[in-house]
Each structure stands twice: as C-alpha cells, then as structure tokens.
Symmetry: C2
Subunit: 332 residues, 2 copies
C-alpha cells in the first residue's frame, strides 16, 4: 500500500502552529515493501541511523571477541550517545582494550548532547574531549576495524581508507544498494555518509531483524548486535532520549535508532520488519512522533499500557513555568 506523506502536527492554543511532512516505509525481511508513505525512492542520507550497519563489519570479523568488548561496548558502537559519564567511561574502556587513546579519534569534540551533563562538566572546570562526541562509540568500533584489517588507524574516517571501504561494501550488501556512484558527504563526525533510497535503508534493518539467509557469520553478527543494543538501550542514546526510553518500554522487541536531519530506523524481529522514515524538513521531534505512530500501526506496542504510551502518542509541550502550551501528534 502506498500513501501520501505522513503529517506531524504541533498545536498551540487549539490550532496547528507548525506542521511536518514525513516519508516512511515498512519492508519485510524478504525484501517486500509492505506499506509506504510519500516518495520513498528519493535519496536520503541515513546519517547516524545506520550506525548498527557501520558496526557490522567489525563484529562479523570477530572484533568483539578479539578485543573482549562486552555487550555495553558493542551497543555503544551503534550509538548517538548523550556524553554522560557512563558513556564516556565505556568508550575509554574500549580504547584501553584497543591499546589506543583519545587522540587517535578523528571525530572532533563537542559538548555532551545532554545539556545537564555539559553544565556538570563545565562546573568541574572541564571541557569536552572527543570521548564526549556522540559518535565516539562508533569511532572506537572503526578503530577496532582498522586493527582487524591490519591498516594504520590514521585517516580512518576518509572515504578511501580500508575501514570506510569495508564498511561501505558491508552496507551495500545489507541495503542491496550500489554506493559506487551514490552522493556522499562527511557526516558530523567526519566519517562518510552515503545517500540511498529510504526503502533500501529499511531493507537493511528488515534483514537485521531476521538475518536468516545471510552468510552464517553475518547472521551471528546481526544477532549479537541486536541483543547488545536492546539489552542496553541506555548505551544507544541516554537519559530522556526517545531511542532509549522507547526501546526500554518495548522490552527487547524493537531496535530503534535516530539519525540527524529527522531520520529514524526500527528493526522488529517478531514481525520480521524494518522501518525507515525521514522528516522532510529534518526535525527530530517529528521523526519521533511518526515513529511512535508507525510502531502503533504495526501493532508492536499492543502490550504496553496506554498510560505509558500516551505521552509518546501526543507529546505534551510545556513552557519554562511548566504550563501546558500544546502537543505534538502524528495521525496515521
């Protein structure tokens, strides 16, 4: 079934104040498009939504075993984390196990995504390091992949480095998409991001949800990654983040991951489905609202009480004095 784009509405004082348009697609693990909204053949940059696929090569080459990464460390390879102390400590542990240091990272510094964590850091008279970069876990995985490939880690973020070429070929197989002529750009963390149709992004996560039919070591790697992220949703995002909170509510039934500019993916093993969506204007608030509507739509939220789901289905907006001013909702 093909539909028009989804609409996410932001209301205030009883009228619509702002409105977002969303493209979305649900794909089965056998590659069928189950349902779609808007033009899902147009190219989108998956941004951080594809991190689990970027981690796949490292895991299937045995990196987790070789460097003794535990499940939390595997999970943070797929994260856009909030730079909270637990995240930073986990990535430091990975660097220790790789016998590398923070200066080997090429992702750049930024203040922790969680504002309260930034204020705490500043209050201690500190400034952020590359460990606080929301992508530092992914970069630890990339440094590990450089070691597995026997390459120098220097320049591991460059598009022609063996690390990125290996990642691209793995992603190309999972997405069934040829990146050789695809538009690409450095992402926020300088690693390349390649554009692809939204349907191909959903396909990769459909296969991730049910990897039967893939090569045996890839099946194992998908399962190992999936188990790690759903067991440790805090490592994938952080305090008061949609990915973490919704994965926690859904009790290991769904893997969810945000990407910059309003991208979201989901992998749902018990339904053998992948979902990918993109907010046309790049708004994360709208991508989250639409993802909730799609999770409801496929029925995977049925076991969660309405009480727990209600503030995701209609996100209450409050002002600085905690007065209610409006809501964000997505009607499917």
């Amino acid at each position: 079934m093909q539909h028009d784009s989804l609409s996410v509405q932001v209301t205030r004082g009883g009228i619509i104040e702002s409105e977002h348009s969303i493209k979305a697609v649900i794909v089965s693990s056998t590659g069928e498009v189950v349902e779609s909204w808007g033009d899902v053949d147009s190219l989108v940059y998956p941004r951080s939504a594809i991190k689990a696929m970027q981690a796949l090569a490292f895991i299937e080459m045995g990196g987790a075993k070789q460097f003794a990464f535990d499940d939390e460390e595997i999970a943070i390879c797929c994260a856009s984390h909030s730079g909270e102390p637990k995240h930073v400590a986990t990535v430091q542990s990975m660097l220790d196990k790789l016998a590398l240091s923070e200066t080997d990272f090429e992702c750049g510094c930024h203040w922790p995504m969680r504002a309260e964590t930034s204020y705490q850091l500043a209050g201690e008279g500190k400034t952020p390091t590359q460990l606080h970069n929301n992508c530092s876990g992914k970069h630890a995985g990339m440094l590990g992949l450089a070691k597995l490939l026997g390459s120098s880690p220097r320049g591991y973020i460059e598009v022609d480095h063996p690390v990125q070429q290996k990642i691209a070929s793995t992603m190309a197989q999972m997405c069934e998409y040829d990146y050789s002529t695809a538009p690409w750009s450095p992402d926020g963390c300088s690693a390349p991001t390649w554009a692809m149709p939204l349907t191909n992004l959903a396909l990769a996560f459909a296969k991730f949800s049910c990897p039967q039919g893939l090569a045996p070591e890839r099946q194992l790697a998908c399962k190992s990654l999936y188990d790690a992220v759903v067991k440790h949703p805090f490592m994938v995002a952080g305090t008061e983040r949609y990915c973490t909170d919704m994965m926690t509510l859904l009790q290991q039934r769904v893997f969810l991951k945000l990407g910059a500019e309003g991208v979201y993916v989901a992998a749902i093993p018990e339904l053998k489905l992948g979902i990918a969506l993109k907010c046309d204007d790049g708004a994360i608030r709208a991508a989250e609202s639409a993802m909730t509507a799609l999770l409801d739509h496929v029925g995977i939220t049925n076991f969660v009480s309405d009480e727990k789901m209600s503030n995701y289905r209609s996100v209450t907006l409050k002002n600085w004095e905690k007065r209610i001013t409006g809501a964000i909702t997505c009607a499917l």
Copy 2:
C-alpha cells in the same frame, strides 16, 4: 503579486537533504499587500517576533522617561536575548529603576540561550535566574507597565491582567486585528500570545517603520523604540545571532526580530515596508535564510558588499572538525 510558498533547501554532498516551506508577506505602511508567498491569511502565533509591539504601550505611556530607561534598556524590552552578562546586567538595572526584584518576574528560568554563556555560568558554580530568561527584558517592560497602570504586578502575565489587556488593545490597533475571539496560548515565558493572519503581523511592522498617521504619542513611541533597537542590536539578541548580526550589517536601516517556531518580522523605514514570514515547520534556520532572501528582494541590502552578505545568502554548514558538509539557501 501572490506566489507559491518559498522554499529553503539544505544541501549535503550535492543533493537536497532537507527542505522547508515558508509563508511570507510584504506590506506597505498604508496597508497594501505588496507581495506575498503562500497562504498569508492563515493564523500564526507571532511569538517573540511581536515584542516591539508588546513594549509599545509602556513607551507611549511615558514609561521610559518615568523610570529613566536608556536606549539599551528600551532595546532589551524588544529582545529575545542570549542571557550574556551584558543582557543580565541591563535587565537588573531596569529592575533597580522599577524598585522591583528578580522574584517579581513570572517568566521562569532557563539556561542562557548562548551555550558558551551557560558553560561559563556553570563553571562559576552558578545556575540561571529569571534574569537569564531570553524574555526578561520584555518582562521588565511589562512590570513597568503594571506600575504605570497602577496595578499590582502580581499575575502580570495572566491574559486578564490589566497589563496584558492594555498590550492586547495596543497590538490590536497596530495589527488592525480583533483579538477578542482569536486563539491564544501562554508563550514560552507565560505571557499570552494571540494568533493572527501573517498579513496583519506584517502590517504592524509596516506602520512601525513609518508611523505617520498614528496618534502623536504613538508616532513618538514607535520612533523611540525603532531608534533604540537599531542603535543597540546586541541588546535585541546577542553574540553570533542573526537578528544582531544582520541589523549591524544593515546600519540602522532595518529592525529585525525572530519569533519561536520560525517566525520573523522586519520593519524598513526608508521603504515604508513591513515583512512577516513563518516557516511552516517551525525551523529558525529556514526563517533566517528566507529573511535574507526577502531583504535582498526589496533591495535594502544593496549597499552591503557581496562578501559580507555571501554567508547569509548561502549559509555554509560545517561539521565538528570544521569540514564543509553543505549549505542552506533560499531561492526566491
């Protein structure tokens, strides 16, 4: 002339990654719609874009003279400031002159809008007060209006308080719009914001740009407010803010003001024009890009060098390592 909505495009790696739709209208001081884009009759909440109109009653009743507010203090009545030390000191000075204190504010606390200022505050072991609220200058003006009206300041943010009723009746005259049945809501700072057609918002700023024909004390008040804001653009926003930087570039020829959810207004005395725009999805980056295109369109940027305008006409996007990743542009 009526056109379709404006489009603001965000590119990455040579393709459009995200896109925004903008409604905009240019109105003359005599009330003519000169040119419009999209449905400009639909209701929008002006949010902070209307602060100069909220300050008007206080100024025309002689508040600035009575409380000895200088031009910087008048300017910050119209501000969404970044909470930088100079802003906070200015608002404190206003409270001193009003013989009131920070606890009389009812706007709520938030960390300074400028992240660096927040980190500095946290580094000093401090947390924000209501003085740091981006609307604190507006609220100082509202407290002053309560004094002028002989009302208790308590509850000055409530829609039925004499302060808000006086502001509403002044705005209704400037916008030529009857708010009595209009949708309204508490704004972020708890003061009411009333919805109105975008054209009526532009009309108010067209009259503000050329107040001839208004009552003599209102003409003087408009002129006094205009002079204050264009002489002190830092007080209206802050470091690295579009309002401040563009007003500085345009050397007192234009008053510019942002509102939440992607609203922008401009008043241009030498052309006797007002401009109002609203990004449908609420994005500020798009509202700024469209405002630059409209300022170019009416010719008021002609005297500024292309070199100085170029990074507003096409805003270069860079990542954490300062690599160029894309651009934001508005084609008119």
